[in-house]
């Protein structure tokens, strides 16, 4: 992404953004609410056309259709009469624009994903019968069934129940061996243990190719924040800076 600017109508949300995601990278995107994190994902997905600058995919393996996406608030109606298998299979839309039928290979793939995500036995359950964490896993399944090269996650922590939280991030670590991950979260503590690099978005973007969060990135927040460092014993550190808040 090269000096990219994105805007809704006339209000600029992202300005002059540069970000490179390498293969099998795990980028944590942090920043205050309204800072443009979700907009960043939408620009990458091609849902919002940048006003200036462009997105480049450096190999033929990656294009706009090889991005898996787990939306922030799942827009699907959880009371909709649709089965777990069907929701996961709907992720095949990444590859096929119109789906008229599913090949046995697609169905086999869906079964593998269901097993991998620990949803066995729920293949034909409807979403309304599942817990919040299970629903989140179903949507994760939908995001990865198309074998994306890049997986975008928008605030996955919002949805996950705490019993599943650890598993969820372990799962992401596994997935990271197959695909690059770009994860948006305001909860840095949750995500820091597997992250390889950080980007902080608040209209501008500060990028740091390390698993530590820099002071410069903290400045972008504009308020005291709480973060967890992960030395030998994980502990919480409060960093603050003086801009009057």
């Amino acid at each position: 992404m090269r000096s990219l600017t994105a805007a809704y109508d006339t209000s600029i949300v992202l300005e002059d953004i540069d970000l490179t995601v390498d293969e099998k990278d795990f980028v944590g995107v942090i920043g205050p609410n309204g800072g443009g994190k979700t907009t960043l994902l939408k620009v990458i997905l091609g849902l919002i056309k940048p006003v200036k600058g462009k997105i480049e995919f450096n190999s033929s393996l990656i294009n706009g259709n090889s991005i898996g996406y787990l939306p922030q608030i799942s827009t699907g109606d959880v009371n909709y009469p649709v089965t777990v298998t069907d929701v996961i299979l709907s992720g095949m839309m990444i590859r096929k624009k119109i789906i008229s039928g599913m090949s046995p290979a697609d169905k086999k793939k869906a079964r593998e994903i269901i097993e991998e995500l620990g949803l066995s036995g729920m293949e034909h359950s409807s979403l309304s019968e599942l817990s919040g964490g299970q629903i989140q896993r179903v949507f994760l399944g939908r995001a990865i069934i198309g074998d994306p090269r890049l997986l975008l996650l928008d605030e996955p922590g919002n949805f996950v129940d705490s019993s599943f939280e650890k598993d969820f991030y372990e799962k992401l670590k596994d997935l990271n061996s197959r695909m690059a991950i770009l994860m948006v979260s305001h909860d840095i503590g949750m995500i820091s243990s597997h992250i390889k690099s950080y980007a902080c978005v608040n209209r501008k973007l500060h990028y740091r190719p390390s698993s530590e969060i820099s002071n410069e990135q903290l400045l972008a927040y504009g308020c005291p924040i709480q973060l967890i460092t992960h030395g030998e014993v994980p502990h919480t550190v409060l960093k603050s800076h003086n801009d009057g808040r």
Partner: protein, 288 residues
């Protein structure tokens, strides 16, 4: 076929005159096609929470019926045009003009009815068929109406058969589908137009006021015991046919209006299935 019909007529102690033969054929095929079309379109409407929108489409199409009367063309044609235009109109008003969707529906709903009433009032002479459009009457259903419903059944079965998954995925999570497919809008408009057309064609069976329940009750009967989309469609068609056929027979023998009887029968089925389901669940729990 003929032989069985005559047998049936004898069994029901009808005299087998042309009038009754006609009545049974229309009723039978009407019930089959109405339950197929309403089962498919109804599952879509109910799952997608479009019941209010469908009510708007139904009532707005009355405007087309009135204009058809006044200018002397087939009122169903007018209703079809009004139905589709109002469905697209709601979309236009809510998305482009930023009017709240439920308000847009409410406005078009009443506007269509108003146009219908004005034109029917302006039409010289009394319109005996008016009641049949409002509350449905099998007596005024023509073979052309049945034929149109038959064609609609074929169209809907093919459309849902071929694009089942695409329709399901788009209606389940439109914004996710939009991320990857550029055909979301086309499918949405085509499906909505087909749903509008299906409702309008069924108006002849149950009337403007009652027709929506043909679409909403059967899927709700099915959803008592299944949450799988394809099974909801299947059981909607089966329960819809049961209710329509039974209601039809009851209305004949009791001499009461057919549309109202069908709806009444469908609600009774819904209550019975609900109670039966609760009871079996209760008994299963008891055993454990």
């Amino acid at each position: 076929m003929e032989k069985y019909l005559i047998l049936f007529l004898n069994l029901t102690m009808m005299d087998g005159s042309i009038l009754q033969y006609d009545f049974i054929i229309k009723g039978l095929f009407g019930a089959v096609f109405a339950s197929i079309t309403a089962g498919l379109a109804g599952t879509y409407i109910v799952s997608k929470r479009m019941v209010f929108l469908s009510g708007g489409i139904t009532h707005a199409s009355f405007g087309g019926i009135g204009i058809g009367y006044y200018f002397g063309f087939n009122p169903v044609m007018g209703a079809a045009v009004f139905g589709i235009l109002s469905a697209l109109g709601v979309e236009y008003l809510s998305v482009r003009q930023k009017i709240r969707e439920d308000s847009a529906i409410g406005i078009l709903w009443a506007f269509g009815m108003a146009i219908g009433i004005i034109f029917i009032f302006l039409t010289p002479g009394y319109s005996p068929n008016l009641m049949s459009y409002l509350f449905g009457s099998i007596l005024t259903v023509t073979y052309a109406d049945i034929f149109a419903l038959g064609i609609m059944s074929v169209v809907l079965i093919s459309y849902f058969g071929i694009f089942y998954r695409t329709i399901l995925y788009i209606s389940f999570d439109e914004s996710f589908a939009r991320t990857y497919s550029s055909y979301v809008d086309i499918f949405k408009y085509v499906t909505t137009a087909l749903v509008a057309l299906t409702i309008v064609l069924n108006i002849r069976m149950a009337g403007v006021v009652l027709v929506l329940s043909l679409f909403t009750i059967p899927p709700n009967i099915a959803m008592i015991f299944t949450r799988v989309y394809s099974r909801i469609i299947l059981w909607s068609i089966i329960s819809g046919f049961t209710g329509t056929a039974a209601g039809y027979v009851i209305s004949y023998f009791a001499g009461i209006p057919v549309g109202a009887t069908i709806i009444f029968t469908l609600v009774i089925i819904w209550v019975l299935v609900k109670m039966g389901y609760q009871l079996t669940r209760y008994m299963r729990k008891d055993k454990r």
